[in-house]
Each structure stands twice: as C-alpha cells, then as structure tokens.
C-alpha cells in the first residue's frame, strides 16, 4: 500500500488521461484551423481569427529556434532584467564575455569590502532560494572570485543556495542540499549545470567532501579547475559547453591523494 512515493504520486495527477469532451474537441479542431491559417513568418493578419500572443516569445523563438534560449532572449528583449538574471538555462548573459575571459583555474578569496564583494553579496542574499519568510541569519561560505565572477554559498538554516554573480550584474542561484555525513576521504557531487551559449557557455559544480579532504581539483572539458572547499562543501565553475566532470582529485590530510572518476559521481 505504501510501497513507494512514485506509485502514490501517480494517483494524484491533476490531469489524468481521459477522452476530450465535445467542447474540448471542438476547441482543438478550431485551434488547428487557426494555426494553419497563420503564415509561417510575420504577424497574424487582422482578417484572421487571432490567437492571443505574447510577442516577446516569438522574438525569442525566431532568434534561437531552440528551446533553451527562448525565454532568455525574450526576457532580455522585454527588458525584465531581474527575471533574466534568474533563468537557469540558456541565458547567454549569465556570465559576460569579460567574465569568461577573466576566468582563472585557481580561485581567490572574495573580499567583501570590494565593489564586487558588496554587489555579489547583495545579489546572492536577494535571490537566495528556500522557504519564503525564512528569517534565519544567512551564513556565507565558499566565497571566491575567478576574475570578475564571484560565487558563494548562502545558508539559512536548512535552505542552502549556491550563487554565482558576474560583475556585470548578472548571475544565477540554485537550491542545494545541506552537507551530509561522508566518509573522511570521500567526495560527492551535489549539483552541476551548464548555461549559456557558444563562447559564453560555462559549467559549474557543487559537491561535498569528507573531513580528511584538504583540496578538491576537478578535470572537466580539458581543464583543470581548483575548487573552493569550505565546511565540507566544494564549489567551482569553468568556461565550457557542459558540466560533465571527467574526474575529481582530492588531497588528504595525511598527504595522500585520491582520484574519483567523474562518471561515478552522477547517481
């Protein structure tokens, strides 16, 4: 009866499979007629029954032809910058060309007194994920810079946010998990993703490390990237079209090292 959540969720579908009603079938057929009356480009003719539309969408589709870019392009064109900053995928502007160009394989600590440190902190706190109304005092960790891009982790109780911020004012935030208990020499992947297009694409990864791990180095897309490690959590980003990790090497307190194949981290 309580075998697993997935089985039980299946029964809670708000739109289970069923036959269309007569009215629904009529609307379906009417819609098809109106769509086929549309030209393949350009706007709806005033003489035709028009579909309600949102022009920014079409602009995005026309520019990109690919799903990932549609919203990003549309939103930027619409001028809704706060929204564009928070898109997760395909936004070519999350990291600027200058941000990509200035990337460094070794991170530096983020100085909170600098313009970048101040702006990044403000952005990351404002866009932190988690429960609305969470009043827990935010704790910032893993704060680093690679050129003009800052990343940090904002923890408010159980709500954990990975945040990336470009000096240009763009960035992303992502909800992550609290640090779990791992074996002392273990390493694990919490989250990763790839964003942007072409020369502006980048990958990032967030993971965990055991108490005996003193450094984490990633191999991805032909690059070697030193991660920022703090409190059992490591973070990194790098210019690349994807976020696939080839391997993760850890340095241990006893002077030893350990290499984990990237593929094994994706479970």
């Amino acid at each position: 009866m309580k075998s697993d959540l997935i089985t039980q969720l299946t029964a809670l579908d708000v739109a289970p499979q069923r036959h269309l009603t007569e009215a629904e079938a009529r609307r379906r057929d009417d819609l098809l007629v109106r769509i086929l009356a549309e030209p393949s480009t350009g706007r709806t003719s005033a003489a035709r029954p028009a579909l309600r539309r949102r022009p920014t969408l079409w602009m995005g589709v026309a520019v990109a032809g690919g799903l990932a870019v549609v919203v990003a392009a549309a939103v930027v064109v619409a001028g809704a910058l706060p929204v564009a900053r928070r898109l997760m995928n395909g936004n070519p502007g999350i990291i600027s060309a200058a941000g990509i160009a200035a990337w460094t394989r070794t991170p530096s600590g983020l100085d909170p007194g600098t313009d970048l440190g101040t702006a990044a902190r403000r952005y990351c706190l404002r866009n932190a994920t988690g429960r609305p109304g969470n009043t827990a005092t935010p704790v910032i960790s893993n704060a680093d810079t690679r050129g003009v891009v800052a990343t940090m982790v904002v923890t408010r109780g159980d709500d954990v946010t990975f945040c990336l911020f470009d000096r240009a004012g763009t960035g992303l935030t992502e909800a992550d998990d609290p640090v779990p208990t791992l074996a002392a020499d273990a390493v694990a992947l919490d989250s990763s993703g790839a964003h942007g297009n072409g020369d502006l694409s980048f990958g990032y990864a967030v993971g965990f490390a055991g108490s005996a791990v003193t450094a984490v180095t990633l191999r991805a897309s032909g690059r070697t990237i030193e991660a920022t490690l703090s409190g059992g959590r490591w973070t990194a980003w790098w210019p690349a079209p994807d976020s696939q990790l080839d391997e993760v090497a850890v340095a241990l307190t006893d002077g030893g090292t350990r290499v984990v194949e990237g593929r094994s981290l994706y479970r």
Binding site: M1, K2, S3, D4, L5, I6, Q8, L9, T10, A11, L12, D13, V14, A15, P16, Q17, E24, L31, L32, I35, L36, E38, T41, L51, R52, R53, R54, L57, W58, G60, V61, A62, G65, L67, V70, V71, A74, V75, A80, P82, V83, L87, M88, N89, G90, T129, A175, D177, P180, T181, L189, D190, S191, S192, G193, A194, D242, Q244, Y266, R267
Partner: protein, 184 residues
C-alpha cells in the same frame, strides 16, 4: 521530423494535443490552458521545418517557456510549479477516498502536503518523470539541461520529497529509502 505539409502538421498536432494539454493543465489553471497550448502549437507551426524527430519534448519545453513568460510572478520562480490533485480527489481525479483504504488516504494527504512544500523546481523535475512520462533525455530537453544534470536533480528531488513526506507523516510508516535516499 519532416513536417513539410499541412497534413504532416495535422498529424503531429492530433498525436500530441491531448498530451500537451495535460502537461499544461498540470501547471496552470484550466482557463489558461487553451491559450498556452495555442501559442505552443503556433510556435511549432512556425518552426515546423526544425522540429526534432520526437516533437513531444520540444512541445513541452516550448509550453513551459510560454508559461514562464506569461506571468511575471511565475517567471520569477524560474520554474513552473506543478499542481497536485486534492487528496480528497477534488482537482482532477485524485481518487475517491470513500473507496480508498484508510491508510492509503492518510498517505495521500501526507504526500500531497509534502508535494506542496517542495520547490517549484523539484516539482517540475519530478512531474516530468511521474506524470508527463518522459525519460531522462526528454526531460532534460524540456528543462534545457544535460541528461546528467536532470538525473541528479531527479535524485535530489526524490530525496527531498521523501524527507518532507516523512516529516508530514507522523503516524504513517513512510520509508524514504524505498525511493533511494543516498546519504547515510
């Protein structure tokens, strides 16, 4: 997919209309669904020459973008929340509790409450698998991420749902490990 003629498009449209409408109805109130379905198919018509062989993920992804773009408050979430049937069977056939064993009803109440506490992004990741019936690759296409990323997000969303369901259920013996809790 070679959609060269109106006939080709009509076949695609009829094959996918009901699925797309269900996909949309899971995410917005029914009175908005027709508009979003219409805009999505219009986009497909305009870009029919570039549609992939399996158009379903493309259509779902386009509909998702329409929804994200349709309302500023939704867009700010960067993910589309997914509705769940009322545990009493209200919204769309969640079952008749009068014919449900009592334990199952309790569990569904817990689960529905847990679902509503999930982030929109977790809801979206889970719904693509459970209700929209997409495999990892297709779901990743809808979300615009890599398959590996989707797989990982799915695993994490399952963990979080299990955690929330366990917290909701003080009297029911939910066993989170049944869906793969990964951490000790």
């Amino acid at each position: 997919m070679a959609v060269a003629t109106e006939s080709d498009f009509t076949a695609l449209y009829r094959a996918n209309y009901a699925d797309l409408r269900r996909f949309v109805c899971r995410r917005v109130p029914p009175d908005l669904a027709d508009d979003i379905v219409g805009e999505t198919f219009l986009a497909a018509w305009r870009h029919r020459a570039k549609l992939p062989d399996d158009p379903r993920p493309w259509l779902f992804g386009a509909a998702r973008n329409v929804m994200l773009n349709a309302d500023r408050s939704i867009r700010r979430q960067r993910a589309v929340a997914v509705r769940i049937a009322d545990h009493a069977g209200g919204v769309g056939g969640g079952g008749d509790p009068g014919h449900d064993p009592a334990g199952a009803v309790d569990t569904r109440i817990d689960l529905a409450d847990a679902w509503r506490r999930l982030s929109a992004r977790d809801q979206e990741v889970l719904a693509l698998r459970i209700w929209d019936d997409l495999d990892d690759r297709a779901a990743a296409t809808v979300l615009g991420c890599t398959r590996a990323t989707y797989t990982m997000r799915l695993s994490r969303a399952r963990r979080r749902l299990a955690r929330l369901a366990a917290a909701e259920s003080t009297s029911s013996p939910f066993v989170p490990t049944a869906i793969g809790v990964e951490h000790p």
